[in-house]
Every structure is written in C-alpha cells, then in structure tokens.
Symmetry: C2
Subunit: 305 residues, 2 copies
C-alpha cells in the first residue's frame, strides 16, 4: 500500500494511491479512521488493515494536481538523519567518521516539503551552495526502546524517498551542522509511504538522484555502512522510537561525470560530478520499486532585511 | 508576567503565576484564549495583554503539587541549542569553535521535561556520564526572517531556565552530537516563561547550577560569545523563526572546586569541578531575577531489551 499526506483548501488528510497520480481519500473511504498519517500509524497495524479493506476497488477521489502534497509525515516527533553513511560519500568529502557508531544529526519538520512542491534555493547573498542528497527515509510504525537489531524491521511502517537538501556553507560554519541542514523548505519527503510489506528489504533497492534529467547519484542501498536495523537499534538505546518518526539513511557519493565533461559554474570544484541546485532546476530522487520524488527549485521568495 | 504550561488528569493548559508556587488557570480566567502557550504566543502581544487583564487580582486555582508541569513550550516547531558559547566552557573542554558563527545543534521536544519532573539518568550499562548544563532559554514571540541584530529582541516573548542534560559518551560517539543531546527525558525547561518586559536585558543576569545544593556553575550571561541578538539574526538568515521556538544559549564552565576538594566517583577526571548527575540527586538551574528550575534525577525506568 502507498499512502500520501495532502491538503486542499478545506481539509488535510491521507490518501491511498490507486496509480502513480491518483488516490482515494480516506476522509471519504474511511472517515472514522485518524485523519493524519502519524495518528494512523499510532493506531497500529489493524488500522492499516482497515485502510486496505476500505479503499479496495474504490475509484480515486483526487489527482495530484488537485491537491498540495505534504511531507509523508508532516509533523513527526523526530527526524533523525545520518551523515557519511556511504563509503563513496566519505571518500569524496575527505571527512572521517566513526566505524563503530553512526553519525547522526536532526532535521526539523519545517525544513521539508512534499512531492512536487518547490524547494527554496537560498538567495546567493545568503549562500551559494544548495546540494541535493538522495536518501532512503524509514518511517517507524511500532514504538520501541532497546530494540535488538534482529527485531528492528518489525518496528518499520514503511519507506519513502528523501531529498536531504543541504546548504553547504552553513553546514560548514562550525562543527555541528545546525542551520545548514535546516533551511526553510530545503528538503523534501515523498512521494508516498510505501508499506514495508510491499517494499521488502532495503538492501535490494537502489537510490538514484537526477538533476534536470541527468543522473548525479546512483547507488545500491547495500552500500550503507550502517543498516536500517543497526540504526534503529542504536537510536533505541537512548530514545523511545515513536510512530511516525523518520530516519533518513544518508546519501551516496556523486557519479563521476563522463569523459570530457566540462564543469559549469554550478559544479562543485571539490567533488567531480556534483552540481548545485539552482532556481529553475528539477530534482528527482528515485528509489527502485518505490517511486520518484520530484521537486522544482525556486528562489527563496523571502525578502532580505 | 510568568506563565507555565501544565496538565492535570483532565486538561492541559496555561497558568499565570501568583507567587512562587501557585497560579491562576487561564482555562478558568480566560477560557476564550488559546489553551497552549505556543498558540497564545502565536496570537500576538494583544493576547498576552488580555491574559494580564484577565488574571489581575484573581486568587490562584492550583498549586504546583496539584498538577504536572510541562516544558515551558511543550511542542515548539524547533529547539535550537548552542555549543561552546562561553569561553570558560571552551577552555575546559579543549574543543575549538568558530569565532565567526555560533555552533548550533537541535534538541527534540520529547527530550525535555518540565519543572519538578524527574530527569532520567541512563542505565549505567548504556552510558555512565549524564551531565547538567545550566542555560538561558529564549522563547520567540513575533515570527521573523532576516532579522537585523538591532531588531532581534523585539521578537523575543520571554525567557526561561534550561537544563541541557547531556549523555557525554553518546555525544562523543561521532562528529555530530545527535542522540547524546536527545536522550529520553534528559533535559528540562522551566519553571516558567518570564515575559521579556519583566526579565529585561539578558547580560544583566547570572546563571547558577547547583547539584544537591552545591554550586557547580556560576556565570554572568555577559560572558556569552554570541549574544541573543546575534543568534536570532544568524538563525533568521535561513529559517523563519516561529512563535514558541526555543533557543538555548549554551552553558558556562565548571566552578573550580575549593582547595583540598577530594573528587568522588561521579566527578569528571577531565574537568575539575564537574560532577555527573546520578539517581537520587537534585539538580537546580537558577537564573537571577527569573527563578529556579528544579529536577530530581531518577534511574531510567525502561527495561533493557
């Protein structure tokens, strides 16, 4: 099952996808169930089974162009994000990381948007390097503390694509990433939650990032240093994982550009093959077997002071 | 005015303090106003003036021992926290930090509790060093982006005390603090929000941390490297500060112990004068002219897996 969070002028709700573009509104098909995806996950697996029964065979209520898609979970208790979780990305950044413990920072809900919504590229007077990071997002279903690695996947409700958009200058201002990972509308989370039963094992999938149709990242999720199971285990030693919590698993490195490639003004000088996002671009993060998260990039419309 | 967030068995709400221990319930004195402090701040300065008028001369409805006090803002959009913002703390940790940009990380709402609520000391099999960090918390009232330093204080609704409890081993597992600053119920935020008009200029105040009645930190807020104005300006370059957002301004260093002091088993070997928190302790963070945040420490009651 694939579930979206969306809103219209008069309501916010959950949708169950019928095809790639249309969905059944749970507000109509199952009005007694919780109206937000976090609340639905909190209600447990029986509630998901009720959704499946309620939407079976129903005609779609909305197309994507009739609504605004929200981040898959608009208001999670926590968004945990991994830095340097692919060997290729560690090599290209020339940064060190612990081999024993994952490197973790936080994103705030208000730093992200849903599928098809514009990402905001910072004003060049504020920052010049706005980078995509295609990643797998894990969404927790069953809460838990002190979860053994072998039990971890039973706590996962499903998966989604994530563009962990990063403002590099701010990320590098000091030791902690802080604001550099939390610019207003700098990341995206979608297009939908694919339930774990349908997605299967994360290592069998591949993440691909495209900028204006050109592949910029392409990596098997088998190449993650810390697996979904290990990260869930680690976080649960200190924190009660809650329904709707999000874990963003880190980004792979840049694909090497083809022979003879001439870098343009938006290409990174440090990492061959990495190109910054700018207004007018379209960025896509695809996870095979899951779907593609698409976001146009626009200039941050906020007036400078 | 001093405002608390609290809940009882049957309702959650806002209280206006009458003395150090008793408050008027806004659910009774002003039932038409928003029921959460974040929503009240979102309603703007007029709503605060209405509160002041509604509670004037009223007898208290509750004592602290009749309710559970919540974190001052239980559900902020964001909690920004500063690392290494006092020279003394930089020297004792022997860590470096940028002189140009503040060092910022995030805490999650669910890592904090209110005044008088127990902080959870990790099981020693999980972690052995649970440290207090007495700090000033700044609460945003008027939203804003691209705020000039000279305008920054006009965006502040008020101030509170914060114990930015830290699990040092986890903080040091890798480059980003991550989980080490976000253990379940590891920090506290209270006792109340003192409105900015009543608190006045932050540098005139002093922060004091006591463990079991013994002073462990004592520093003028004049000694912060980055002022409240500078941090608000910095954050607002990338992020729309929202009503109820929290900025925790960093902790000073440890007071040197008196001559002849014999360190005990819970004293830091690295930083003379720093003593870890353990079950049975009482930790207090006082900010002069504001009040004292008190929390007993108990063992994390969660069963290990």
């Amino acid at each position: 099952m694939r579930l979206v969070s969306y809103h219209t002028r008069d309501h916010a709700g959950i949708g169950a996808m019928v095809d790639e573009w249309r969905f059944v509104s749970l507000a109509r098909a199952a009005p007694d169930l919780p109206a937000s995806l976090k609340d639905l996950l909190e209600a447990g697996p029986d509630a998901l089974a009720e959704v499946a029964a309620a939407v079976k065979g129903r005609a779609p209520d909305f197309r994507f162009d009739q609504v605004t898609l929200d981040p898959v979970i608009p208001d999670p208790h926590a968004i945990w994000a991994l830095a340097l979780n692919f060997k290729m990305h560690i090599e290209e950044t020339q940064l060190t990381t612990s081999a024993e413990y994952p490197q973790i920072f936080m994103r705030m809900p208000c730093s992200q948007v849903g599928h098809l919504e514009p990402l905001w590229c910072p004003d060049p007077r504020v920052a010049e390097t706005f980078d995509y990071e295609g990643e797998l997002a894990v969404v927790i279903g069953t809460p838990g503390r002190h979860i053994a690695p072998g039990d971890a996947l039973a706590h996962v409700a499903g998966y989604a694509c994530y563009n962990e958009g990063s403002v590099r200058e701010f990320q590098g201002h000091n030791r902690q990433f802080g604001l550099g990972k939390n610019f207003e509308r700098s990341g995206s989370f979608g297009p939908w939650l694919m339930t774990a039963d349908e997605f299967g094992a994360p290592p069998r999938h591949t993440v691909v990032t495209r900028l204006n149709g050109v592949e910029k990242q392409h990596s098997s999720l088998e190449d993650m240093l810390f697996s979904v199971e290990q990260v869930i285990h680690y976080l649960s030693t200190g924190y009660l994982l809650r329904a709707g919590d999000v874990i963003v698993m880190g980004t792979p490195g840049a694909l090497r550009p083809p022979a003879g490639y001439q870098p343009g003004p938006y290409d990174s000088k440090r990492v061959p093959g990495r190109t910054r996002m700018k207004p007018g671009d379209l960025c896509e993060v695809e996870i095979t077997g899951l779907g593609t998260l698409r976001n146009p990039i626009i200039a941050d419309p906020t007036r400078l002071g």
